[in-house]
Symmetry: C2
């Protein structure tokens, strides 16, 4: 068992503070301007980038890295708001297809600029191009590592 070095500790502390503050900041921004938390916005946003603005539940959950259960609850709420709707899947009767409605798309078009602005203000306006590239690389390494934890042959995320 190894402890963290001094450098690692400062990095870890700063990272935790940055992510905590950032989440809080973006959740507030979107709750205020769009009436939904950041994760829900990410669902609409992800759907809007697919060919027909539709996706299977499981695939959507995998893309945004959340559990199916969490997605079910979120979709139920967003469907109630009218931003998206469910359709049954023709090829697999267990499946559900989530579709971004036109109203949902409009909502996204309406709120995207403010959100992008918030992201820029918090992050990219403050980082050099090099730092942006470094952040991308570091994030990718961490995400890759968590996607398939060493020694686990069973998916750890249900």
């Amino acid at each position: 068992m190894e402890w963290l070095t001094a450098d690692e500790q400062t990095a870890w502390r700063s990272f935790l503070q940055a992510t905590t503050l950032l989440e809080d900041y973006l959740d507030r921004q979107l709750q205020r301007d769009a009436g939904m938390p950041h994760m829900y916005y990410a669902l609409l946003s992800t759907l809007s980038e697919t060919p027909a603005r539709r996706m299977r539940m499981t695939e959507l959950a995998e893309r945004v890295k959340i559990t199916r259960s969490r997605l079910s609850h979120a979709v139920a709420r967003l469907e109630g708001d009218g931003w998206l709707r469910r359709e049954s899947c023709p090829s697999d009767r267990r499946g559900q297809i989530v579709v971004l409605t036109d109203t949902g798309y409009d909502k996204l078009v309406q709120t995207a600029p403010g959100h992008v602005e918030a992201v820029r203000a918090a992050i990219f306006d403050r980082l050099s191009a090099e730092q942006t590239a470094q952040l991308a690389e570091i994030s990718q390494v961490i995400a890759d590592g968590l996607h398939q934890p060493a020694g686990a042959d069973v998916p750890w995320l249900r």
Copy 2:
């Protein structure tokens, strides 16, 4: 209004995935091994590093970057578990001082190795020393920016 460049988009996407996965991973690890979410562990950990393992509510909230309200709920829970206790502040009768109990300290000593190991496995074992330094710097920049958002003369975090 500027959109994100292609590089910024990939960085943002990776960053979001990494932080989502990481939070989930650490919350699970701590819930399983310590019976508490990551944020609660951070409270115990922060207290353990102070001179007499005690701190005012407000200062603790500021250190870990959460609202007073959230802290109140968390402390109520952790006090119920016996990991910490409240004491009234002699110099300011509105104040409360949160104290890490001996049991709470033992709990921390017990669970810290496993948690540090999880953090190492997810992050520092995968990053070079340079990348660790880069992550520290980037995180610091982001955290600094969010601490005092440009154009706000009123604290945005209550």
